[in-house]
């Protein structure tokens, strides 16, 4: 039952992508409400899935790689819904939906929905740490998407090729403001997640702590560079992509290590 909800949710996101492709192929792309509604509906089904899974487990559904991917996709959709009307009506939705489909599609197809041999005890600090960190990842993912959009728009303006399929991208200054806002939100949430990790009451793997601190330092450096105006907006945008790739690799590493450790 819960997987069916997830399939319906993925279809909603696919509808958003389909609509975008049809519009772009027809040469007409007017960012409208359809993408927002389709993503909103997909988000509702994601939430229903996570809620059912959470009730079944008796804890936050973050016990395997499958659930981590779905939670991450949910966080991306959540942040997309929260970032403000200016970004909803742009191509942001067209960039967000493929990322969510990629995450959910992979989770649904790959055999990673493995149940733990033993029922995990509830640990509020651990659940808080994991969930808040994943919402931070959602903000970083959106910052990464905005970064890609910034680089595309910047390239179009520099090369004087302004009529590509992405001619409806938001203005550079708006995109940079969105990147900055998303970075600050992501960084604050990630810091909260990182600090709460020290209260989980379990010994933390040294490598994980070092890598997580490394990602934290990378984002801190980007924000510091931005604050002191040492980094050009183009570099901030590019670093958002690097930062999210690093964060994603870390997330994979943490989940993979946790699953290895839980095997009998």
């Amino acid at each position: 039952m819960d997987r069916q909800l997830l399939i319906v949710s993925t279809l909603c996101f696919l509808a958003a992508i389909g609509r975008t492709i049809v519009s772009l192929r027809a040469g007409i792309f007017r960012p409208g409400q359809f993408n927002f509604l389709a993503i909103g509906l997909g988000f509702i089904f994601q939430t229903a899935f996570l809620s059912i899974r959470g009730h079944a487990l008796g804890r936050c559904p973050l016990t395997n790689l499958f659930e981590v991917f779905i939670f991450l996709a949910w966080s991306v959709a959540l942040i997309y819904m929260l970032v403000g009307p200016a970004y909803r009506l742009s191509l942001m939705g067209a960039f967000t939906a493929p990322l969510v489909v990629l995450l959910q599609g992979f989770a649904l197809i790959a055999p990673i929905d493995t149940r733990h041999p033993v029922k995990l005890p509830a640990n509020p600090w651990l659940e808080f740490h994991a969930s808040i960190s994943l919402v931070a990842y959602g903000a970083f993912a959106l910052a990464c998407i905005a970064g890609v959009m910034y680089l595309v728009q910047e390239r179009q303006l520099k090369t004087h090729q302004l009529h590509s399929i992405f001619s409806h991208l938001p203005p550079l200054t708006d995109l940079f403001a969105a990147i900055t806002r998303l970075l600050w939100w992501g960084f604050a949430l990630y810091t909260l997640g990182l600090v709460s990790g020290f209260f989980v009451g379990q010994p933390l793997p040294y490598v994980q702590v070092v890598c997580a601190s490394g990602v934290w330092l990378l984002y801190a450096a980007i924000l510091q560079g931005r604050h002191l105006r040492r980094l050009a907006p183009k570099h901030v945008a590019a670093l958002c992509i690097v930062g999210f790739s690093a964060a994603l690799a870390l997330l994979w590493g943490i989940t993979f290590t946790a699953q290895m450790q839980s095997l009998p």
Partner: protein, 356 residues
């Protein structure tokens, strides 16, 4: 009832010929006298057209004679440059004209306003009746639909509007942008005006001749700055429009680098419309600087035009649908027995003015 259109446009006649047949104050009355039950004269800088409905056929020559401005001195043959469309072809032609497909700049929307004005004028003087009312109201609907459902109006096609479009793609809202106009040429004036019309309030003008700078500043609602102060101004501004007659580049990367040091996250948009150019092309390679010279602005305008032309097929499909539907609905009504009663009803309802 016979519905037809006779006219000439930039496709068929040069400007002198169009001037000769631009119509005059008595044209409406003469058209009535020539046998047109209803008539509407659409005159723009690119076309002169008469849309008319008549019980019997009115020849193209007769219409041409009604349009000629000075009939005493003009005895030449009128027919050759004129085109004539009847019934369905006439409907299709008007729908194409109103949608901007027949315009010199494909997709321009000014023609729709001109058609509305011509219709309102004909309606007010009583020469447009129920046939033309239906035809023009449908034409306005079609034009709106074409503009909404295709990208025929997409992009900018003049240097000034391209510059404004680009500025909006960089800065979004232009109300907080500071603009410096360097050199007070005609194109820079037009560009500055276009920027002001989109919300720019802080506009500075600098020119070798301070009188000309003052004059332009007054014209566009800006303030004049001394010519030797413009490098300092570059530290503050967001948009630079340059069109001086300098033989050597005024702005080089070496000169710009120290100015950019304190504005790392604020882009600078440079519009160089001078020939020879005022800004070295390598300035475009600097971080946060977007340089457009006259050629690149024109190339963007041409890209827009090419895109608009791609939309013609989609627009024609919408028009064809409406032509077929209009043909069906009008065929009975065109042959209505009591047009005068309907015309009275038309005059009584306030809807028609509000539809404009």
């Amino acid at each position: 009832m016979n519905l037809f259109c006779v006219g000439l446009s930039h496709h068929t006649a040069d400007v002198e010929t169009r001037e000769r047949f631009a119509g005059h104050a008595e044209t409406d009355g003469i058209l009535r006298g020539a046998g047109c039950t209803e008539a509407l004269l659409l005159t723009t800088c690119n076309r002169v057209e008469v849309y008319a409905a008549s019980e019997k056929r009115v020849s193209t020559d007769e219409i041409a004679r009604c349009l000629v401005r000075n009939i005493e001195n003009d005895r030449s043959e009128y027919a050759p440059p004129f085109y004539r469309y009847e019934d369905e072809k006439c409907v299709q032609h008007l729908f194409r004209v109103a949608s901007g497909l027949d315009s010199m700049v494909v997709g321009e929307s000014e023609i729709l306003g001109q058609a509305k004005k011509a219709y309102e004028s004909a309606r007010a003087s009583g020469v447009a009746g129920p046939c033309l009312h239906r035809l023009f109201q449908r034409a306005f609907r079609v034009a709106k639909q074409v503009r909404t459902h295709t990208e025929i109006t997409r992009g900018s096609v003049s240097v000034g509007s391209v510059a404004v479009d680009l500025a909006q793609r960089i800065f979004g809202q232009l109300s907080s942008c500071k603009v410096l106009v360097l050199g007070a040429g005609e194109t820079s004036e037009r560009t500055a005006r276009a920027l002001v019309s989109r919300g720019v309030t802080d506009l500075r003008v600098s020119n070798r001749s301070s009188d000309r700078a003052q004059e332009l500043a007054q014209l566009v609602g800006g303030r004049a700055v001394r010519f030797d102060e413009w490098p300092q101004q570059c530290r503050e501004i967001d948009i630079l429009i340059t069109s001086t007659s300098s033989e050597t580049p005024l702005l080089t990367p070496k000169m710009l680098a120290p100015m950019l040091r304190n504005r790392v996250d604020r882009p600078l948009f440079v519009i160089d419309i001078a020939v020879p150019r005022d800004v070295e092309p390598s300035v475009n390679e600097m971080h946060g600087v977007y340089l457009y010279d006259i050629d690149s602005l024109q190339s963007v305008a041409e890209q827009s035009l090419a895109l608009r032309r791609q939309q013609i097929t989609a627009a024609e499909a919408i028009i064809a649908e409406h032509v077929a539907d209009f043909g069906k609905s009008i065929s009975d009504k065109l042959n209505c027995k009591a047009p005068s009663a309907e015309r009275r009803a038309l005059g009584e309802t306030p809807l028609h003015t509000s539809e404009l």
